[in-house]
Symmetry: C2
């Protein structure tokens, strides 16, 4: 990586702390990803992206800003990237996956707040996130209580927060609320960019986002094969980079990876031997560099074959219909797609259980590991139902509740080992 | 109390466990309430109600049912009692305030769920709540994540649950959603009762509910005096019984109590000496028999002078305008009142902070004790803001986070003692 210290200083980062953070994440990346055997060569692109995640990618964002384009930072798959792209702005994910600055964060947040939220505060307060600092607008959304209420303080800390309301039920009124919010958001995008959303620009945004999803769907489908041709860690990485990278380049890179993976399948090459325990991950999102549980699983004689997560198929499933004569019609199509997202903040949310079952079948999973962030009530609540319903169908389920610390890694490893033994017996 | 075992058996209660529960609650009541000195004589009515809370009051409900009236059980101050009364049904609160059946509850709920929710499950699963068993309809509502998601399982357990959606923001769309939900609820009331809501019946319902609120407002206002003429425990009890008792009888009893309290004020009679530390309670609701923290406060050289809680002024403030030519107009008035409730599930929720400040002034409080149930994210989140903003104005704030167990009573007592010392120094 080139020397970006001047760029980081310009963004107001705390250089010393930021250097430390990069070193830790870099070391973690080496241990978790580069230690893997028999990886597809196409993963080199993603290794490069990760090595430049605070470097070249930030430079690209700043170059885009210099050209007058806007950067929109988001925390949730409910923020429609299509509307961001329609004003030629850049959409980047801001969720953080490391225990950093939690002491500072707890001045604003109760101790009993999930790590994902604490991390968003910690990275801002500790001045170590160049994405937050590059964003012209940061978009929050009323999903869970934790985020919804935390944004009230976050607003004061970041200064450029826009909060999007969300419904709690998939009712007629709920859909109307979502549409009203998306229309407001479209106006906001026009306002910050000084550009008008047209049928043409929105169709282009829809196409870019759909293509990104299609590429990820293609990669996911290839994981149904035994032996699985790509590790869950690598597939998760692609799903994580989905939120940061230039979407067109990302799509091309995922498709190139898929070409290679298809060839591997023909040759019978896998990352683990045929018959290795196949696990479906389900639950809370895993933001970079939150690789703890997947790393444990794939170092316990098992492979991950799918992610029923926001950083996975919950976030990418379904396309927006790219057909419409007016911007309003296209926004309706966008609402149709996003309203299907089966996030646990909705009540009731039967589609998620169905989706987990479908994924188990589609990817030939032997069992499901439900990943719950501590204090994440919506997913913790649903985990009980998923466990009950899947076990009833004879599908083993392991509920893991954890945070961003490494303290429980040994305990989780023991439980995963026992689970793998159970599902292969 | 007469022998109600036959009635309880008829409701399907677990008689042995229920007897044990009544014994414990009865003993707690004696220790907490009857041990108080210098109580107004008018509290005898409330003592009687409490002694018959599972007896005579349940018999009244069953008698009403025998006459064809319906019983509607609720968990939240957002359920408009006016619409229940307008079909001549009876509205009763179902929130429980005791650690009971938590092991059973945790089969459905994550460990990290607040005691209020666990209790609702524990009382149903343990078959010890005659109110739940007498209810023709149980109404849940999408307030916090915990309740919203818990109702998905509760529905299966109780069989007669109706869930009301709620907005998360006080926007135009939010108000429209609340109105749509109240109209649906009005239809549901008509459906279960076989009665039509008319302008006349709804005006009557509004009047009954308003009168109940006015009586409580009157009692609250009398607590601004030093020495305070009634204990916080007794005032809380009235606020708790507000949810159970026949509303007209309750109103008359509170007004009779107020007459007496006014006389006491004239004579300078107080429950504690002039100059005793005056504390405003703020935060999560306290359902019967959750008296732990108020009991500690009032046994630590302090008196409670107000409750900024659902079982208090958050629940009772504001009246419904009793004027309108159509049912729809009256429902609009109802929406106007309820939409003002400053529950922490709303974002942003600046009115609550203002209300706490107003109450501090109005009741001449020396400090605020914020009562947060463990894992209640909305109130825990707001407690940080309340603490910061009030301390900035020189108003001492103590944040207590607890559950329904008695284990931390000693620790809380130590903290309250120190707090009282601080505010009187």
């Amino acid at each position: 990586m080139a020397d970006y210290h001047e760029m980081w200083a310009g963004l107001g980062l705390d250089l010393k702390t930021h250097d430390m953070l990069l070193e830790i994440v870099g070391k973690g990346y080496t241990d978790v990803f580069l230690s893997q055997k028999n990886r597809p060569k196409g993963m080199e692109y993603f290794d490069f992206v990760m090595s430049e995640v605070h470097g070249l990618r930030i430079k690209e964002l700043l170059d885009a800003k210099a050209e007058g384009r806007k950067v929109v930072g988001t925390f949730c798959v409910f923020v429609p990237e299509e509307l961001v792209l329609a004003v030629d702005a850049v959409c980047v994910g801001l969720c953080a996956g490391a225990e950093f600055g939690f002491d500072e964060a707890e001045k604003y947040l109760p101790r009993n707040t999930c790590s994902l939220i604490k991390s968003a505060f910690g990275f801002k307060l500790g001045k170590v996130c160049p994405y937050i600092e590059s964003s012209d607008l940061i978009v929050g959304e009323n999903t869970c209580d934790g985020k919804k209420k935390a944004y009230e303080s976050y607003k004061d800390i970041v200064g450029n927060l826009y909060v999007m309301d969300l419904p709690q039920m998939k009712s007629t009124e709920g859909r109307a609320l979502l549409k009203a919010e998306y229309k407001k958001f479209a106006l906001k995008m026009e306002e910050i960019s000084g550009r008008k959303i047209t049928v043409e620009s929105l169709l282009k945004g829809i196409e870019i986002a759909n293509n990104k999803r299609k590429a990820i769907h293609r990669l996911s489908a290839l994981r149904s094969v035994d032996p699985t041709p790509i590790s869950g860690l690598d597939a998760l990485l692609a799903n994580q980079i989905y939120f940061y990278d230039d979407p067109i380049r990302f799509t091309a890179s995922v498709n190139a990876l898929c070409d290679e993976v298809e060839a591997r399948i023909k040759e019978g090459i896998g990352v683990a031997s045929k018959g290795t325990a196949r696990i479906l991950l389900s639950g809370c999102p895993m933001a970079v560099p939150n690789w703890k549980v997947p790393f444990i699983i794939e170092n316990s004689n098992a492979v991950i074959v799918g992610e029923e997560m926001c950083t996975g198929e919950r976030g990418t499933q379904n396309l927006v219909e790219a057909k419409g004569k007016t911007v309003d019609e296209l926004i309706d199509n966008i609402v149709d797609r996003y309203f299907k997202i089966d996030c646990a903040v909705f009540t009731p949310n039967p589609n998620r259980l169905e989706h987990v079952k479908e994924m188990v079948k589609k990817y030939n999973a032997d069992g499901v590991l439900h990943y719950g962030l501590q204090f994440c009530q919506p997913y913790q609540m649903e985990s009980k139902v998923i466990e009950r319903e899947l076990e009833k169908d004879g599908i083993p389920v392991l509920l893991i509740e954890t945070d961003y610390s490494q303290e429980d890694a040994g305990q989780i490893k023991t439980r995963v080992d026992a689970f793998v033994e159970r599902i292969k017996s």
